[in-house]
Amino acid sequence: MLEEIKEKLKAEFGLDSEGYDTNMLLVVCEKNRLRDVVKFLKSNGFNYPHTVSVVDYTPKGEGFQVNYILENVLDKKFVMVRVNLPEDDLTVPTVSDIFPPLQPHEREAWEMFGVEFIGNPRLEVMILPEWAEGWFPLRKSYDFKKHRKPSKEKK
């Protein structure tokens, strides 16, 4: 099943994919082809999206990584689609119209990391309080101490 998808991805997009785990395939693609790849995967049975997971590699000088995790609930297989973003251009086209359940996941990734999903209808703060918009607390550069409330003794 995964071998088949692997060959199809190679034939359709010329993308190399590798085994991530048993039952899981990893596809690294450019962001301008992301929507096509995701659409292709959806039409091939990967119709249950799990999440959007962003990893901040800026301390290592590698920018950000956006991972889309999709599952095929009938054949019990996973695909992870990975997009690498440079630090100075944190934009990626949305897939929330292809997979509506991913819309809140993109929204969360935006408020926690500042990755802008172009075309997402609702990029507003969700879990954070309104006054914390733009703090991007899950970035590695976020400084906990700077935002800590001073304790009573130290005043």
Binding site: D21, T51, V55, N67, Q103, I127
Partner: protein, 389 residues
């Protein structure tokens, strides 16, 4: 001042005028109102639903969450590999074993550590204990939102027995911190097994027959929850529902069966599915899973092997990453764990099933009656700690 509605603590915001065939039908039917369901509502928990109603009919629902945000994904980055379990288990403390198991399996995958067989069995016993504890609260609170609070009390009595077993095992009743990368933290003593058997005995011999007689085949409950919030099979996948809600729509997705972890591959159990996809089907899925879990615990106790219950887990883990799913009480919980070769996780993304269910809810609540909002909400079986993390 004389308005009884505002005195009861509700706020109405007039949203927009709506013409209804030129007739003056009074304030409630003339305008779209925004109603706040929560934060202090007894059934909502620490979250708010903004409900726009047209008379008695719900037009739109928008959840307002974030009241229990602890930023666990960030806190984990400041911990060592073993310490991180205290943050992971607090995703939702009711079933804390499932989340700890998932995190531990992910960490073991990156480190290449193989867990002893006994640890796998103890994990299975604890995970199923956690599932029972969580499902008992789920059953109780489902009828609780309909206004009957007796079942919750019955469920809590059965739950206490399991908490006693957890206490004997780890010293804690709720946040046990008992499953770590490399195995489980404590030896499963005879006393723990004894307590667990007592709890399962009570559940199977006292709770299940009595509760099943009164609150399962209950005509009033059926009247109230059948045909409410119906989701078809295709729609359930489209909406991205998770866990019992997905299985109640006929999709047999259960991580324990699909991608066996711990000792589930060696045990015999059934994936509960229902075809109806309404609130009552979701309630029945929780109920039947409870019965299945009791059977799994009995099998796991019977097959508990001898030997070590933990192995050494390295202080520094080589760079790598893993995505692991476990079937948690409320659905499949995903852990995307990244290591950069340090002494703790570099990044942990938790994919929470309640978060998925929550954002599927506004679609399910379109054009239902206002009185059905709590029924659908409770049938989706969500945990707030898990939504906000």
């Amino acid at each position: 001042m004389g308005n009884s509605i505002s005195m009861a603590g509700y706020t109405f915001v007039v949203e927009e005028k709506k013409e209804i065939s030129g007739e003056d039908l009074g304030l409630l039917q003339e305008k779209l109102l925004q109603l706040n369901w929560g934060v202090q509502h007894p059934a909502s928990g620490p979250m708010r639903l903004k409900v726009w109603v047209d008379g008695d009919e719900v037009v739109k629902v928008d959840p307002d969450i974030g009241y229990v945000l602890r930023l666990l994904e960030k806190l984990v980055e400041y911990r060592t590999w073993i310490n991180a379990i205290v943050n992971v288990e607090r995703a939702c403390f009711i079933d804390n074993f499932g989340t700890m198991t998932g995190y531990s399996i992910a960490a073991e995958k990156i480190a290449g550590v193989k867990v002893p067989k006994k640890a796998d069995y103890v994990r299975t016993i604890l995970c199923e204990g956690g599932r029972i504890v969580s499902h008992l609260i789920g059953l109780g609170s489902f009828i609780g939102v309909l206004g009957v609070h007796t079942p919750m009390q019955w469920a809590l009595i059965a739950r206490e027995k399991f908490l006693d077993a957890f206490e004997v095992y780890s010293g804690q009743r709720i946040a046990t911190a008992s499953i770590i990368p490399g195995g489980v933290r404590y030896e499963p003593t005879g006393k723990f097994i004894e307590k667990m058997v007592t709890a399962v005995d009570f559940l199977e011999k006292e709770f299940i027959p009595r509760y099943g007689e009164v609150f399962i085949d209950n005509p009033t409950l059926k009247l109230r929850s059948r045909g409410i919030g119906v989701v078809s099979r295709e729609k359930a996948i489209d909406l991205g529902l998770a866990g019992p809600a997905l299985r109640a729509s006929g999709v047999a997705s259960d991580m324990r069966k699909d991608y066996p972890y711990a000792a589930y591959g060696e045990l015999d159990f059934r994936v509960v599915t229902k075809e109806e996809g309404d609130a009552y089907a979701r309630y029945l899925v929780i109920w039947e899973e409870l019965i299945e879990s009791a059977k799994i615990i009995r099998q796991a106790i019977e097959g508990l092997p001898e030997g070590e219950w933990r192995t050494k887990f390295p202080v520094k883990v080589p760079p790598g990453e893993a995505y692991v799913n476990v079937e948690w009480a409320r659905g499949c919980f995903g852990f995307h764990l990244v290591s950069d070769g340090g002494t703790g996780p570099y990044r942990l993304k938790m994919r929470a099933p309640s978060f998925a269910n929550l954002w599927a809810m506004p679609e399910m609540m379109k054009n239902v009656k206002l009185a059905d909002v709590p029924v659908i909400f409770a049938s989706l079986y969500m945990c707030h700690g898990d939504i906000d993390r």
